[in-house]
């Protein structure tokens, strides 16, 4: 009797151990196939791998970039749709932080807080971070948004089903649903210009050179020099999005 019981206990143990081992093996295979870990690897090592540098010290908040982007890319003019915008941060003497971006900063800024109350103030241009572990491409249910071989995050407008999951997944608020096309829309790094060797519209029109771009693989590129000469930071490094938008002089108030 006792022996019988022992046998059945042993059988049970072996069964559960096998089930556990099987599950672990299954999950590890899932991992290897890239289903759980998501990151875009550069496909073609000969192509450039683009990134962006923004020098907050140089930005004067003129809004030229946001204006140029809307014109170049046919972005709806209403103040709810932006591929790039500028934020004004004002830290007051009492420690309060005031953030504003009226109409995305297209018409420039007016400081409403009296000088005597201001501790410091600066402008932060925002745009798609063209992340290489981008949460937006990870969640797209049909793969309509993808990373180009040059590391640019793009959307196939003929393929997007408009589920809006990518808009939810972007931690930087860079995506919107185009009100006429009814599909997701965002900064394309002016891919159409890039392919012709031209700079993106926002960078071309920045009067102070606060925005630059370049090939992260090319040690002599303007961007790599920028990264070498400045102490830079990306937005929300804790989220591990693999952002390729590097800021110089990024203050801790900026989200």
């Amino acid at each position: 009797m006792g022996n019988e019981k022992l046998k059945s206990t042993r059988r049970k143990f072996i069964k559960s151990a096998a089930a556990l081992a099987g599950t672990s093996l299954g999950l590890s295979l899932l991992n290897a196939s890239g289903l759980l870990i998501h990151a875009a690897e550069p496909e073609d090592k000969d192509l450039p791998w683009y990134g962006i540098g923004i020098d907050i010290e140089k930005c004067i908040g003129c809004g030229n970039c946001a204006r140029a982007c809307k014109m170049e890319n046919d972005v709806p003019k209403e103040p709810f749709f932006f591929r790039t915008w500028v934020e004004q941060y004002t830290v007051k003497n009492n420690g309060e932080v005031d953030i504003s971006s009226p109409d995305g900063g297209i018409e420039g800024f007016e400081q409403k807080i009296p000088d005597s109350d201001i501790f410091k103030s600066y402008f932060v241009p925002k745009m798609c971070n063209h992340c290489y572990k981008s949460p937006c491409t990870q969640v797209c249910p049909v793969g309509a948004t993808y990373v180009s071989p040059e590391g640019v995050v793009l959307i196939d407008e003929k393929y997007c089903i408009g589920c809006r999951y990518c808009v939810q997944a972007c931690p930087y608020g860079c995506r919107f649903i185009h009100p006429v096309k009814n599909v997701a829309n965002k900064c394309t790094f002016c891919y159409h210009r890039l392919k012709k060797g031209l700079a993106p519209a926002c960078m071309e029109n920045c009067p102070t050179g606060a925005r630059i771009y370049g090939n992260l693989r090319d040690k002599d590129s303007e961007l790599v020099k920028f990264l070498k000469e400045h102490i830079t930071q990306v937005l929300r490094p804790n989220l591990n999005t693999g952002s390729k938008l590097y800021y110089n002089e990024l203050s801790s108030e900026v989200r």
């Binding site: 949460p135 797209c140 997007c160």
Partner: protein, 398 residues
């Protein structure tokens, strides 16, 4: 000013603090609130039915088929709010033919089909096959053919084959329980896996969704049982109500504990997003979270259920109380879905301000559309009860 954007200008004028300019417009409206509500009802109703079958709870036999048919009626409608909220609904099929392997949402179609075809339809079929055969022999005209088609040509009702029906049905129930867990846990994962949103991003989200699903499914089946008995002028068995009531209490307690745990963890860790979430729950979500979900949908039903278990009352009084509890619980779970879906979009990802939400009455994403998708399952249920009446099922040995 373009009138199409009037509502956005209104929200812009009333925004609080700073929000990213693209965040003025809320992406997911009321249809995405009822989507997890409906799938939750499906999973919950199924789990209640499975309890009867797997653990052989004899007293719940009266609600077994009712629960399965309720689950089916709601499951048929489950993808509709999702599809109708898409900006390009005509491309919805792409999610099935070219799913993106890393997307949580892409798996929905497959989880859904698995659940519909492999679990629910098969289980119901094995359960009803004997009756289909008998009914196809008894009925005349069109209905004879309808039932004959439903037998799928398998008309053997010898005891040996019927035993197999039972055995296979049982196996499917066993497969069905984890499937129901996956179906709804997965819906929670759609939200819980968005790291950009601190209100959603918690590993507890799938589990919380699952338990709230069970709460809502159990309440719905109890409600349907009471209403159907009333319509059919049949007596309600108080033991059935008491048993389901007991389950409802335990699941409510678990659900409440889990959600409480989630909130305590957030409050104690008080991460970067804590300030904005605190403002969210004490402001824009105050009514739907503390009053509607917490008090009306959880605490009052829990206390009343305990009260009913330990005190003796007139049958009529008990019935009325159970009826009210079910409705309160459903309101509570609906509010929970609202708090997750809408609440998660009201604050800016800059953690510095709030946008607003204006619920439209008409339009593809309006209240009427949501009501429509909530009413249709009941119409389907009525049809299913007419086609497959559980009370006319052929019992073994007849």
């Amino acid at each position: 000013m373009d009138p199409t954007f009037q509502h956005l200008y209104d929200i812009l004028a009333n925004q609080q603090g700073y929000i990213f300019p693209n965040e003025i417009e809320l992406q997911w409206g009321i249809l995405i609130v009822i989507y997890p509500f409906i799938t939750g009802l499906v999973a919950g109703a199924f789990i209640l039915a499975s309890l009867e079958r797997v653990f052989n709870v004899k007293i719940l036999k009266a609600t077994y088929q009712l629960a399965l048919l309720t689950a089916l009626a709601f499951l048929i409608v489950a993808p509709m709010p999702l599809i109708s909220h898409l900006s390009q609904p005509q491309r919805a099929y792409e999610i099935m033919i070219t799913p993106h392997s890393s997307s949580a949402m892409a798996i929905f179609g497959f989880v859904y089909l698995w659940y519909l075809m492999v679990v629910l339809l098969l289980e119901i079929w094995f359960d009803y096959r004997h009756s289909f055969v008998v009914w196809s022999n008894e009925k005349k005209g069109v209905m004879k053919w309808v039932y004959r088609i439903l037998t799928l040509g398998i008309s053997d009702i010898s005891p040996r084959v019927l035993k197999w029906d039972k055995k296979l049905g049982y196996i499917i129930t066993i497969i069905g329980i984890p499937s129901a867990f996956i179906l709804h846990g997965y819906v929670g994962f759609i939200f819980g896996s968005i790291k950009a949103n601190p209100w959603w991003s918690t590993p507890l989200m799938p589990i919380i969704f699952l338990f709230s699903a069970m709460v809502s499914g159990i309440a719905l089946v109890m409600l349907v049982y009471m209403v159907i008995s009333y319509i059919r002028k049949q007596n309600i068995d108080i033991n059935v109500l008491n048993t389901i009531g007991r389950y409802l209490f335990f699941v409510l307690l678990l659900d409440f504990t889990l959600e409480g745990l989630d909130q305590i963890q957030r409050i104690y860790e008080a991460e970067e997003s804590f300030q904005i979430l605190k403002l969210l729950v004490s402001g824009k979500l105050y009514l739907t979270l503390f009053v509607s979900q917490g008090l009306v949908g959880t605490l009052i039903p829990m206390i009343t259920l305990v009260f009913l278990q330990f005190t003796k009352h007139k049958f009529k009084f008990q019935k009325a109380i159970y009826f009210i509890i079910c409705i309160l619980v459903l309101i509570g779970v609906y509010s929970m879905r609202w708090n997750v879906v809408i609440g998660g979009q009201l604050f800016s990802k800059s953690f510095a301000g709030f946008t607003g939400f204006k619920l439209n009455l008409i339009g593809l994403d309006g209240t009427l559309m949501a009501i429509f998708w909530m009413v249709i399952p009941f119409a389907i249920l009525a049809f299913l009860l007419w086609l497959l009446p559980p009370w006319k099922m052929v019992k073994e040995g007849e």
